[in-house]
Subunit: 328 residues, 2 copies
């Protein structure tokens, strides 16, 4: 037993940062994955990668202090990042949902310098999938598809008890085609799942229909709650108010998710599908059931559907998954 | 060296049977997978499983004799079968493309009794994928998707150097949804790849358009060549004749394959896609190129497309794959 932890590193405490398009979630855990502290900061919407790295360091520092630690005392910090992540080089490029982040930025080095401990980068969706598999709703299964229904629609795969990354780009269930020549997707292609179900695409669609005269409370609700985007909570409130436009678009999103998930299951036949992400976590159980129902008509082996479960780690899944990047 | 092989088993000679909807392909190979003999018989279109088993035994016997062997001298025989295959029980059920084959039939026992050697059953698409991976166009790769474009559209997966079967039903690329609420598929669902690209669906579609007055030489060509179905060769001839209806339907099929293959690659990010099956093998290189072009617009990682290759083993792939089921 050590008399004090205040001087040197605390071997079993690690940090995790989940870098999202709207918020930065951070968490400090011990070796049993218990949460010692956490903090959430908004993601900067202006500036560039260096500003975002500063915001990430500030959020992680707040979480560490909530755990009565300084960042430099952590055994290490893991980061789940969007965009193209080069873990070996410690860089991130093409994070399209973040301001000014197209070129490669040395995120690991920037954070290491700010935090005084080693930083390991991973893909946001991969670490969230791994978290659900190892700590969350995916624990009973050896193969699963994680579906992260948020600003985009991300996916992660565990096959035979191991993450499957393919050539590095696997899991893009959001860009499976469910309507050839269908709606324009934020990715630039047409008819992808995300074109119908991603929060970004939903907001653009709602804005366009509203501009054409369709009535909706979505934008009033956003203004009332001081939001300049249609967050998961705003969509949930609009549905609770019986808003017709919101209901129509979310109904369509559920059908798109069902078709995409069924197509994925027909191809890889996993034991379970875990539904997470901002919208998935916020909408919760009734939508898990509705997504399962939307999947059923498209399943080839319809007598043996996969388990469809809600993510068990909620909003902290990404940050908890990021902590798993740190070798203990 | 043995003076003669005529009395006992020949340890290194095995048989393979590929049971298709229109033909039964059989092959005899040595331990280096060299073909010692082969034979092709038509699949019975009337009767039931016992009649089909008899036809399979007759075809395998002919192949064995072409190799100057009796079936009982083979170390074993592997079978690639459609339908639901229970390898452990040696049974096949629900082979929808074969006459009267819904209930479970003890195919392994029936063939063992007829051939006098042990018989191992596998899924037709899985063994064909394994054959391409181990012996054919898939040899340079560790992960691949086999796409068998024939009466239906089947698929098989090799991930990280091993077959991936999921819970037993993986690989159904033919039943990935590319058009929600689209064309009726032979599987009973709507908008699957197979609804646009499978030879069965193509023939039904052509027949329906022809009955409505659209001109086509497809059925004349079939009659001229003594066929009661639109075989791969009949489709190929119609395309060579510039038949408008055939061209339109095959153009649509290529687009459907492209969307389905791209969706699959977006999800599992394999190194290679191998195009086989009756239509795939018959149409050959120009269509490999066209399928690759139809895939490109839907690929999420479009700067790094997978290799798209024609099956290297041609019509014998299924039977060669079946020989791999026999443990040597």
């Amino acid at each position: 037993m050590h008399a004090s932890n205040s001087e040197g590193p605390v071997p079993d405490a690690v940090g995790g940062i989940d870098l999202g398009g709207t918020k930065i979630e951070t968490v400090i855990t011990d070796s049993a994955h218990r949460v010692l502290g956490s903090a959430r900061h908004p993601t900067p919407t202006t500036g560039g990668p260096a500003d975002i790295a500063n915001a990430m360091a500030a959020a992680l520092t707040e979480a560490a202090r909530a755990a009565k630690l300084e960042p430099a005392q952590l055994h290490g910090v893991g980061v789940g990042s969007p965009g193209r992540v080069d873990s070996a080089a410690g860089t991130v490029s093409r994070a399209d949902n973040l301001p000014g982040w197209y070129a490669s930025f040395p995120l690991a080095a920037a954070l290491q310098s700010a935090l005084g401990t080693t930083v390991t980068l991973g893909n946001d969706v991969s670490v969230a999938t791994d978290a659900e598999f190892r700590l969350g709703a995916g624990r009973p299964y050896r193969s699963l598809l994680g579906v992260f229904w948020g600003t985009g629609v991300g996916g992660g795969l565990i096959l035979g008890g191991e993450p499957w990354h393919g050539r590095g780009g696997a899991g893009e269930i959001g860009h499976m085609v469910i309507v050839e020549d269908g709606r324009q997707c934020p990715c630039g292609r047409r008819g992808c799942v995300e074109a119908y179900a991603g929060r970004g695409a939903l907001e653009a669609h709602a804005r366009s229909l509203h501009a054409k005269g369709e009535k909706t409370k979505l934008f009033e609700l956003a203004a009332e709650h001081g939001r300049d985007r249609l967050t998961s909570s705003i969509w949930a409130r609009a549905l609770e108010h019986g808003d017709k436009l919101a209901t129509k678009l979310i109904d369509r999103a559920v059908l798109a998710l069902g078709a995409g998930i069924a197509s994925a299951v027909n191809l890889i036949d996993v034991e379970a599908v875990i539904i997470g992400g901002g919208l998935g976590v916020r909408f919760g159980e009734p939508f898990r059931e509705r997504i399962a129902e939307a999947t059923a008509p498209h399943l080839f082996n319809d007598t043996d559907p996969p388990a469809i479960r809600l993510a068990g780690l909620g909003d902290l899944g990404g940050a908890l998954g990021a902590t798993l990047l740190v070798e203990r």
